[in-house]
């Protein structure tokens, strides 16, 4: 059986959340005290074994003593030190882990792409992989979850070390404060391209941080191990891609806007002179900014006489793989903005159409109100891919509109 003095000192050491130098000094002081106590008991006639046991008994319960010793050593500044160290450790851990997770995921996708092409060669038929831009965004958000989990663990370790407390003592505070901060970042600050899957993955980020705080012994692999792993993935990915060769090709589509269902939007405006429906597509000018379109139409003022209230509108469209059309049953555009008509026939407007959750394809139209109050269609575009861009908070605000 282990000596009671050694056992006592080992337990105090294990439970004493102080920096190494201070902990050693405290232990040395306690060790001296117990040695004096044993010597005194021995001089009073107590046998060696009983003297050591009695000296330890007089010191009291080691875990409680360690807690009291740590509390006596730390002042108010330890709280600030713990908060600062925890925050810094969380950031310092989250960044490399997330970046490496993203890199690894990208390289794994490269490997998967190479394997798919090889399978296509071997089997002589189309092999598809569940992969898309949206899936990449989900993987990106999952990388954030990994970073948040490791950040939670690192924050608890650092806050305990700098606050001179045990991990159990700081865990609740780190979990509450850290989860709230991560929630704010993931939901209200981080602007990215969103789909429902990405929103779900981002909502998991605070949870990942909270779970990470429960595993404070969990540390990410060393930087060199992570770099080596990434390098191996890179070599495998590039090698496979080079072996498989070629690209996976791209799809093309054709469209006929007259068949696309624009009649549900408005009737085409007719030239008062000829009585023919007009379409100003030949005079169009598009330019795309981030999530927005600048549309300019050059129209014959004689044809547009009597029109007012010009508007650029975005309507939902279905994916264009097999021909395309507007999503049926729509009664209003999901986004619109006024357009200005100049005297020389130039009509221009700017529309931002990346703020509607879950819309992936849009068709752009220019409409105006006729003399009869009816809205007419002057121009209709082909399908345009769009993605919601903003924060999770924007996403839910958009849904509520």
């Amino acid at each position: 059986m282990r000596d009671p003095v050694e056992r006592f000192l080992a337990e105090v050491e294990r439970e004493l959340p102080l920096p190494d130098d201070r902990r050693q000094e405290v232990l040395e002081e306690l060790q001296g005290h117990v040695a004096d106590s044993v010597a005194r008991l021995r001089s009073e006639g107590t046998d060696a074994v009983s003297a050591r046991a009695e000296a330890v008994r007089r010191m009291g319960e080691p875990a409680a003593l360690a807690r009291d010793l740590a509390a006596a050593q730390r002042g108010g500044r330890r709280v600030l030190a713990a908060a600062g160290a925890g925050t810094w450790a969380a950031i310092r851990t989250a960044l490399p882990v997330t970046i490496l997770a993203w890199t690894s995921i990208a390289l794994l996708a490269l490997i998967a792409g190479g394997l798919v092409r090889i399978a296509r060669h071997l089997l002589g038929q189309e092999v598809s992989l569940l992969g898309s831009g949206s899936l990449n965004d989900v993987f990106g958000a999952l990388g954030l979850n990994l970073g948040a989990g490791f950040a939670g663990a690192a924050a608890v370790r650092a806050a305990a070390r700098s606050g001179w407390r045990s991990p159990a003592e700081v865990r609740s505070a780190v979990t509450i404060a850290g989860t709230a901060a991560v929630m704010f970042f993931a939901v209200a600050m981080l602007e990215t391209t969103l789909t429902w899957a990405v929103v779900a993955a981002l909502l998991l980020v605070p949870l990942s941080f909270a779970v990470g705080t429960r595993f404070d012994r969990l540390a990410p692999p060393s930087i060199s191990a992570m770099l080596l792993g990434t390098l191996l993935l890179f070599v495998a990915g590039v090698g496979l891609t080079a072996y498989a060769g070629g690209s996976s090709g791209s799809s093309s589509y054709s469209w006929d806007q007259r068949q696309a269902g624009w009649q549900m939007v408005a009737p085409w405006w007719q030239d008062p002179a000829s009585g023919q429906a007009v379409d100003f597509a030949s005079g169009e000018s598009f330019s795309f900014g981030p999530g927005q379109i600048d549309l300019t139409i050059i129209a014959d003022p004689a044809v547009t006489a009597g029109l007012s209230g010009y508007r650029v509108e975005a309507w939902r469209a279905v994916p264009p793989q097999d021909g395309w059309h507007l999503v049926p049953g729509q009664t209003a555009p999901f986004a619109n903005a006024p357009a200005a008509a100049e005297q020389d026939g130039v009509v221009s407007g700017r529309l931002r159409f990346d703020r509607m959750p879950a819309v992936q394809w849009a068709a752009i139209a220019l409409t105006a109100a006729g003399p009869d109050g009816q809205r007419y269609l002057l121009y209709a575009s082909g399908p345009t891919q769009t993605e919601f861009h903003g924060t999770v908070l924007d996403w839910f605000t958009g849904l509520a509109r």
Partner: protein, 109 residues
């Protein structure tokens, strides 16, 4: 032996008192308290150290490691001027408390 909870709040006063204007290390302080109380007062010896460290952090004591004539080095504590002021204040408070408790507990009705 007196109840330890009753003694806990008085430990700083006893520590400052037994050190006085000398220099003592932990075990000696515990022994002095035991001797002066006629062995009726024996605070948990471990609890002495959190009290010593708290007094040191508050500036009432200064601790210094010094090699013993025989055996390992010891950490000796001496009372600072701030500690002397705290001792006087604690003594006055203690006298007040004991007076009040005696007046309340000593009355028959």
């Amino acid at each position: 032996m007196l109840r330890s909870q009753l003694l806990k709040g008085t430990l700083p006063l006893m520590i400052l008192s037994v050190i006085g204007d000398g220099e003592l290390y932990g075990y000696e302080i515990a022994q002095r308290i035991r001797e002066r109380s006629g062995s009726r007062l024996a605070p948990g010896e471990g609890s002495l150290y959190p009290a010593l460290h708290r007094l040191e952090r508050e500036g009432a004591l200064v601790g210094q490691w010094r090699a013993g004539s025989q055996g390992p080095r010891r950490r000796y504590y001496r009372v600072t001027p701030a500690g002397v002021a705290l001792l006087e204040e604690s003594r006055a408070e203690w006298a007040q408390v004991t007076g009040i408790v005696a007046a309340v507990a000593g009355s028959e009705s």
